[in-house]
Symmetry: C2
Subunit: 436 residues, 2 copies
């Protein structure tokens, strides 16, 4: 067990703040669909009228972070100009119009005469969300939380402190003119609070980390609260022996290059021995043009790849224009490689052989298994969920891209008229188990 627990109890101040979110989440869970939708619109309106303050706060954060020597990539993520803010506000309005995930009847059954069971979706309660920079994520997650009837404790990065304070202030002002209590949202800013948040099992029902793999893994190792997230996205494309090589190359290029920093971009290309040479002949110049560094095993080096892949490459998530290539002698070897090194995120096969496709799709145990298409489709919006709460690489549901329904649970409602279990044990009454 690599559980390096950082024991850090919540301070009484944090406990009090968390409890006030919990208390506000109770009436929030009772709100109607219309009340939650209106709350989102009020949040969006309030952000729009606070836009100048938010952008100004962000400029201060940017200035301070620049002076502190934050690197360009992080500064770009921290930056929130009018355009990005307007996009986030538009996103909140879109979330308001998504179908309600609450109150869905999943099961309705007569257990016996006069005894009725139903299973209905309800909010989880309180979400704990931990961000690294990215102030736009604060707005997105806050709106998903309220839409699904959940309170949220939001912990942003210290470099975005002023921006986040100004955003949460605007969101709460919006809630004030709605039927949802402003205390449904709260912002934490210090690292101590973040560690304390991880200890709030019993108050916080789900932790959603938004940040680096290291952040996610740290959180998973240090809390008893369920965590929705993925630490790694090591995705593969296997190109089979019977295949349209040109199509396969296009899929490989899209899977690697369309947005290399995404978790659903591929890191490794597995090539069947029969096509490896001819594939690489057309692929190497294309990848070269696109600025992709190829590294390969011994055989693929023989086919023209200049750089050597080492053992650690197969389990590396580059998140960059870099791709490892391995030649395999069979589809089974490809599947074996994916089982050993993959992260059960999304893996694809390019083949014109239906039997090979069937085998790959049914044997690779990843949340997404694809045939003749890019791994980049692994995304809540592209799946048509209307929103993406996160992508989960755990085995248990929810896995893969998770939409609003990842923020709800269910409750069993049983209504009777004096029904007792003893009547059924003794045989006086019997179960009908009739679905309604």
């Amino acid at each position: 067990m690599e559980n390096n627990t950082v024991a850090q109890a919540a301070t009484s101040e944090l406990l009090e703040r968390a409890r006030s979110v919990k208390n506000a989440s109770i009436p929030l869970a009772q709100c109607t669909n219309e009340q939650r939708r209106s709350a989102l619109i009020a949040m969006a309106d309030s952000l729009a009228s606070s836009a100048d303050n938010i952008v100004e706060a962000n400029l201060q954060d940017l200035r301070r972070s620049e002076e502190a020597g934050l690197n360009d990539a992080l500064l770009a993520r921290l930056k929130l100009n009018k355009d990005k803010l307007n996009l986030a506000i538009k996103g909140i309005r879109q979330v308001s119009s998504l179908p309600d995930p609450i109150g869905l009847i999943q099961l309705q059954r007569e257990l016996s005469e006069g005894l009725y069971l139903s299973r209905i979706t309800v909010p989880l309660g309180v979400l704990g969300v931990i961000f690294e920079s990215r102030p736009d994520a604060v707005m997105q997650i806050a709106s998903l939380a309220i839409r699904s009837g959940n309170g949220a404790i939001l912990k942003g990065g210290s470099e975005a402190r002023l921006t986040n304070e100004s955003i949460v202030d605007a969101l709460q002002k919006g809630l004030k003119v709605s039927d949802v209590l402003p205390e449904s949202l709260c912002l934490l800013t210090t690292r101590e609070e973040s560690l304390g948040l991880l200890s709030l099992d019993g108050i916080v029902d789900l932790i959603i980390p938004r940040g680096s793999n290291e952040l996610v893994r740290f959180i998973q190792d240090n809390t008893r609260i369920p965590v929705l997230g993925h630490a790694d996205g090591i995705c593969h494309l296997y190109i089979d022996s019977e295949v349209d090589l040109k199509q396969a190359l296009n899929i490989a290029i899209d899977s690697k290059c369309q947005y290399p920093a995404a978790c659903n971009a591929i890191e490794t290309l597995l090539l069947h021995n029969d096509i490896a040479s001819s594939f690489l002949q057309i692929a190497i110049p294309r990848f070269h043009e696109l600025g992709v560094t190829l590294i390969g095993d011994e055989i693929s080096q023989g086919y023209g790849i200049a750089n050597k892949a080492v053992e650690t490459d197969w389990s590396s998530e580059y998140l960059d224009l870099k791709l490892s290539v391995k030649v395999v002698t069979s589809i089974d070897k490809a599947i074996e490689h994916i089982r050993r090194y993959g992260s059960r995120h999304t893996d694809a096969i390019a083949t014109s052989n239906k039997e090979s496709a069937r085998k790959f799709l049914h044997t690779v145990d990843s949340s997404g298994v694809y045939h003749n298409c890019s791994t980049r489709f692994a995304d809540g919006f592209r799946y048509g969920f209307g929103a993406e709460v996160g992508i989960s690489t755990q085995t248990l549901p929810p896995r893969g891209p998770v939409g609003l329904d990842g923020l709800v649970t269910y409750r069993y409602f049983l209504e009777g008229d004096g029904h007792m279990a003893e009547e059924f044990s003794s045989g006086v009454k019997s179960f009908t188990h009739r679905d309604l």
Copy 2:
């Protein structure tokens, strides 16, 4: 954080055994419904023909445990005579006839022309099951695992070692004449192996503890693998001011006495002030007759309860003929009490007022919320699931009584014809998101 991690890496022998279950689980996941059903029948047949050996092994375990001074309750749980064995074998045959939880299509959607998404249920992979005594549970869980296409690593108590060895031997012999590999099941017997099992994340997908609250809590605190189970069942019955007192008393008696050792039995009775006196007048003699010890708060003591309840009583799971009683001034106070002391298992209201019922059912955040019926219905069989894997008191699904569908997950299948994300970003193609 109360995470008292017991760092205990798996030995290389345990790792090897676990990996061989994992390897066997891969073809098992590909087996058809019919193959898995036949495997269960072969397991049942093999147990039947090994019955004498199993009962003899159990007698030896009983003799040894008796000499070691095991208490009567535990000896009773350890005992496996012909009748109990036959019941377990019958149970396996019943599980074989349950509807297949695998291959269910949960979503089928055209994302764009020629690009099809489906979400289909698949086995989890490998289950880790940890028992205390109860050799019948070994047979039950092994059959649920194979039925749902999962391998299982079974860890029984050392007092039941010979019985469990003889059971697993018979189960594997049954599998040998089926299409399922006998290596899909393995038995661990030592405490070291049990601790090692908890470290097998990456191989084991779900831990199912079957035993005391202490066992469950220990496991939850010492593994990164998801745990299906509940540590506490602190259930309540609240009797409202407008109520059929006689019916309410029957519900209270059934909820407490029908099987007091069950997690779904009530531990606390909450009484509205308006009916407390008249209710206790009829209830005290009835509970007395039934051998139930009542302990109460100050007000209920004023109404005739002899023993005083102290603060720790409200969070105690007696699992015995003992019931704590508290008088509250309103339904809100009852809900507050349940929120504070309950374990979100099952809580009931007895009332003839529909508005009070609605309020209780929608505000109490337990996995089961009941109106005018006994809490003892919280059970997979009674819900009509055909089997019960366990009862979960976590907030996230699956919660409450969990049937076979708690042992499966899903995978997203995406099939295209050279589809690339870039075509959609650039606007060449567009999403249709049409459910099929």
